[in-house]
Symmetry: C2
Subunit: 201 residues, 2 copies
């Protein structure tokens, strides 16, 4: 499936075939593609929680206003971000770069993030947003449907997945065999509504 | 180009052919595809600033540590988010939905976002992250290269584009004809580093 077809046909699907299982090879392919999403300074700050345990799925569904896709989708990915990835052995993110590049990049990266809590959080949201889109388009190509979600109790989900205190919970992506098509688009803005030339008025 | 090929071949490119111009039709295609990216509650909270004016590009380059791609790429998209999109005539986001859906969704959306400033900001980052990835993969299919950027002075850029106070600046995406291949990947983590089964330890 080509890229524009995947973008145009992807819709957020809520009803899935609960009996369908995805193979480990399919899951590995999806996650390997997700990991090719870019991150600032190559910090690869996403941490993907794959929830396979049915009991864990039930708890998360309860924390997500009982939305059926949380248990019924073949794959539930909880996207989280390590807010301190930039400070955890950052040399590993640049180990293949020439030494002068490493010598420049590593202190600059540290200076960019240190003490800037909001920036660290924003970075997690940006990185996971890009990875989520990659996952959904890759799933589309593999013949699956998907849905992004942030309609859940963030505190409850954080407890259920035992989220480390230096991580942020970002969103869910569910992937599986959709059993009900999406309704028509609910109300799309026009290019004029969202595109600005050069500067805001 | 199929989706997985686009994901696998996309790299963040920094050097572009400054003489290349993108047609208006190509730009419209890219932005129309970007607008098919999902947003929570369909709030379509991205606002894309297309910077065409060469003087404006120069100012932004100065605010981005003089990185050449800011002036040399064919297209510079400054992704911003309207933090109050959920509260600006929200009925337009659901105008095609059945009335009972509208009657349920609109108050629920309001309750979800009202007074939750950090959530509103996170939503902007998530939405723009997904749209940025869509832009980059669509560009790849169109034979272009691209690069996401957040290495710039956010305050200076906000002033240059006259960012409204109820918007957040998220990131840049540059798109154009790359003239220098990316170096080998600098240091990729493994699946084991970033994938967690069911729950954090």
């Amino acid at each position: 499936m080509n890229v524009s077809e995947a973008i145009e046909t992807r819709r957020s699907i809520k009803a899935y075939d609960a009996s369908h299982r995805m193979s480990e090879a399919e899951i590995e392919k999806l996650m390997t593609l997700a990991m090719l999403s870019p991150t600032a300074w190559n910090i690869q700050n996403w941490r993907f929680v794959l929830v396979k345990d049915p009991e864990q799925r039930k708890k998360l569904r309860a924390a997500a206003w009982d939305q059926a896709q949380v248990t019924d989708a073949s794959l539930l990915v909880v996207l989280t971000a390590d807010l301190k990835a930039w400070d955890k052995t950052p040399s590993r993110y640049w180990k293949n770069a020439p030494q002068p590049v490493q010598d420049y990049i590593l202190p600059a990266m540290h200076q960019f993030y240190e003490g800037r809590e909001q920036l660290q959080r924003d970075e997690g949201m940006r990185s996971c947003g890009m990875a989520a889109m990659t996952l959904m388009l890759a799933a589309q190509e593999m013949g699956y449907q998907s849905g992004p979600m942030d309609g859940f109790d963030f505190d409850a989900v954080s407890r259920i997945i035992n989220l480390p205190t230096d991580h942020a919970l970002v969103m869910f992506v569910v992937i599986g065999r959709g059993i009900q098509a999406a309704p028509p688009r609910a109300g799309s803005l026009s290019l004029n509504d969202v595109v600005v030339l050069d500067t805001f008025a």
